[in-house]
């Protein structure tokens, strides 16, 4: 007992709070990965998972069909820590750093601000593109997105609910002025984004320095689904292959943190 006390006296109370944290289970809630989750949600869940693994926080994944309805903001993923619920990437990262799990603590403040600006811009473009392809390209909607979204519900909810969600996404896309774009334009935007990322990554292992940061987690989340999703028309798979370093980055993160 005294050994622990000495240790904590030496390095401050953060060690004590970390061991407290570990005894409280961190549970990540998302929809069923294989049958149910849709493209944009999957990217978000992967980004959060990558972040949690990179920061060393112990957690487990709970798959629920109603994960989005359970979430305090209506979006996945969300984590449960004791009696607290935190949803979406940025709030989860802020919560983790308040508990001492921060990936970008070694970076100067200026770089951190820049990183978050980058994350937000990226997330915007890539997330919009994912929503567009999943909910507004007719083949994808009919063959992939709607069946997946409605698979957990009985008739007639299995067509009413995806239809309602599609209208919601369409409305969102109209507000963001993406509804009027064509698929080629959307792919063009994604290509520009990937090119910028590829240039920023260059030949480094991670985007900002020797250790992974939140930016790496977000980029991994999006690139992984762009690479691996099997959609009719395969709009994205060949796109990522144009940028070798991004493809390598993705494989590297997967093998380091996910196995």
């Amino acid at each position: 007992m005294s050994g622990v006390l000495d240790f904590s006296e030496a390095s401050g109370s953060s060690i004590l709070s970390v061991s407290q944290k570990r005894s409280e289970d961190v549970i990540l809630y998302q929809q069923y990965q294989v049958e149910q989750i849709t493209l944009p949600d999957y990217a978000q869940c992967l980004a959060v998972e990558a972040f949690l693994r990179m920061s060393g926080l112990n957690f487990r994944v709970e798959q629920r069909t109603n994960a989005a309805d359970m979430s305090p903001t209506g979006k996945v993923p969300f984590i449960q820590v004791g009696s607290q619920l935190i949803a979406e990437f940025e709030p989860i990262v802020k919560f983790a750093s308040s508990k001492g799990y921060c990936l970008s603590k070694d970076l100067p403040d200026q770089s951190v601000a820049e990183m978050w600006a980058y994350v937000s811009m990226l997330d915007n473009i890539l997330s919009n593109a994912e929503h567009y392809v999943a909910w507004m390209v007719p083949d994808v909607v009919a063959e992939v997105t709607k069946p997946r979204y409605g698979c957990a519900y009985p008739w007639p909810l299995n067509w009413i609910l995806p239809w309602m969600k599609q209208r919601e996404v369409h409305h969102l896309m109209t507000i963001k002025e993406w509804a009027s774009k064509s698929l080629e334009e959307v792919i063009g935007e994604v290509r520009i984004c990937l090119r910028a990322l590829s240039e920023k990554l260059d030949k480094k292992t991670f985007f900002l320095g020797p250790k992974p940061t939140e930016l790496d987690a977000v980029v991994f989340g999006h690139i992984y689904i762009l690479l691996t999703s099997k959609l009719p028309g395969s709009p994205f798979n060949s796109l990522v292959s144009e940028f070798d370093n991004l493809k390598e980055f993705c494989k590297r993160i997967e093998s380091t943190y996910f196995f």
Binding site: D69, M70, Q80, S83, L85, Y153, I160
Partner: protein, 468 residues
């Protein structure tokens, strides 16, 4: 109520007819009593030659003809009056007419024993409506209703409702009802509705969108109702503090269920009966489609009797049991039983008995409730005969239990179910607001409380229609 007028032959005395609500007029008795002829009007032979129904616009002929056809077979005057009255009552009960006035006269061509019957009917307005208040379960609501009585001409009734409640509930619905086989006791109904309600005792809010078809018919013992209902329920956590056990049930569910209800109601007043009993049992099976599966039994029994000194003794019992049919699933909080509150187990918060999680009532899959009441007029009878009659003093004792039965270990858990109860007693004042609702203000002493319950000792106020 309409009146039956019978024109009598010009001379002779007439006796009053027997059926209630019937007036007979008589001509003045002539002074010369020796010439009086005594006539027994009841047994006068009649032959109905014509029946005229005046005032039909949208009511269909066939349904009216069916009701008045028996009159043609009347043999005596007595029978004719009875049959006319029955036809009038039946047609009013079917919802065809607002008002029926019957006139019986001798036939115009003065044939022997010939009579004519004239039905003057007043149909309902095509579209009617109103605003009224209704009280349910400690909650009052305002109802805006547009109704179309006798819409298709055979007693069908269509209505549209919009309800706004005090506890942020609101909803609207459409209801259509049609009597079958010319029998007002057998009817087919269908309703479509959307309802939003908040359930703060359990920490969730729910939107229900549903469609139901039901059939009601009487048998010798009582009235049966068979209903199919399909409801799409959207459950959300109410606040950030909602407990996780409730939050994890958020989302969409579809219940498609078949329910049979059997009712015998011989009470003389729905709000504070002085005599009679109520027996209602229902069985519900959910699982024909949808993703909610359970079998549910629910029953209620109430018995009232008057005692000397204007006192009333009432005894009630209620209980229910439900079971999920899928061993891997559990029953949703939207379907479970709840107990507690001024309408059920007094002395506890609304739905305050049973398992709780962080202040949210979770409900359970079985319950029982028993109560005994004694009502008597206010001491010293203030306002006797008038306003004071609406108030009664009220002594009661009630007990109940709400818990989940473990079907793998039925014996032991049933033992617990019967003995681990809560009970309370108290007294107070009851105010009956006509036949609409009842108010109770009681001082309650909870005597036995189980762990996790929310007891509410002291003064408790309740307003509603159905009290146990």
């Amino acid at each position: 109520m309409g009146a039956v007028h019978a024109k009598a032959p010009p001379s002779g005395t007439i006796r009053d007819s027997q059926p209630t609500g019937i007036k007979t007029t008589s001509t003045p008795v002539s002074k010369k009593e020796e010439n009086d002829v005594k006539l027994n009007i009841d047994k006068l032979p009649v032959r109905v030659q014509r029946i005229v129904v005046d005032g039909l616009t949208r009511t269909k002929d066939d349904i009216v003809i069916k009701e008045i056809k028996p009159l043609l077979n009347a043999k005596t005057f007595d029978e004719l009056v009875h049959l006319s009255y029955n036809a009038k009552v039946k047609m009013e009960r079917l919802g065809l007419f607002k008002n029926v006035v019957i006139a019986i006269d001798v036939s115009k061509d003065h044939r022997e024993n010939g009579y004519e019957v004239l039905f003057e009917v007043q149909e309902f307005r095509r579209v009617d409506g109103g605003i009224h208040t209704s009280i349910t379960n400690n909650d009052g609501s305002l109802d805006f209703q547009v109704k179309m009585p006798n819409i298709l001409g055979r007693g069908e009734r269509f209505s549209l409702d919009y309800t706004v409640g005090t506890k942020r509930t609101h909803g609207y619905g459409a209801y259509f009802k049609k009597p079958l086989n010319n029998n007002p006791d057998i009817f087919f109904g269908t309703t479509a509705y959307q309802f939003y309600g908040e359930y703060p005792w359990s920490g969730y809010k729910q939107t229900d969108r549903g469609l139901a078809f039901d059939l009601t018919f009487p048998t010798i013992l009582g009235s049966h109702n068979i209903q199919w209902e399909g409801v799409w329920r959207d459950l959300r956590a109410l606040t950030r503090d909602t407990s996780f056990s409730v939050r994890e049930q958020a989302g969409h569910s579809l219940k498609s269920s078949l329910k049979h209800t059997f009712t015998i109601d011989t009470r003389d007043n729905l709000v504070l009966p002085t005599a009679g009993m109520l027996w209602r049992t229902s069985q519900e099976y959910a699982g024909l489609g949808g993703n909610v599966e359970f079998a549910k039994q629910d029953g209620m029994f109430q018995w009232n009797t008057s005692l000397p000194l204007d006192a009333i003794f009432q005894m009630s019992l209620a209980g229910g049991l439900m079971r999920t049919l899928d061993p891997n699933a559990s029953v949703s909080i939207s379907d479970r039983f709840f107990l507690g509150g001024p309408l059920t187990l007094r002395g506890f918060n609304l739905k305050g008995c049973g398992p709780h999680s962080h202040d949210n009532a979770l409900g359970a899959e079985s319950y029982w409730l028993a109560a005994a009441h004694l009502y008597s007029p206010l001491p010293f009878r203030p306002g006797k005969g008038r306003f004071g009659e609406l108030f009664k003093t009220h002594f009661f004792i009630n007990a109940g239990n709400l818990c989940n039965l473990d079907f793998n270990n039925l014996g032991a858990s049933f033992q617990d179910f019967a003995t681990n109860m809560r009970w309370s007693y108290g007294c107070g004042v009851v105010l009956c607001m006509g036949r609409i609702a009842r108010l109770e203000l009681n001082y309650v002493v909870p005597m036995r409380v189980q762990k996790g319950d929310k007891a509410n000792p002291g003064l408790q106020f309740g307003i509603g229609i159905q009290f146990l």
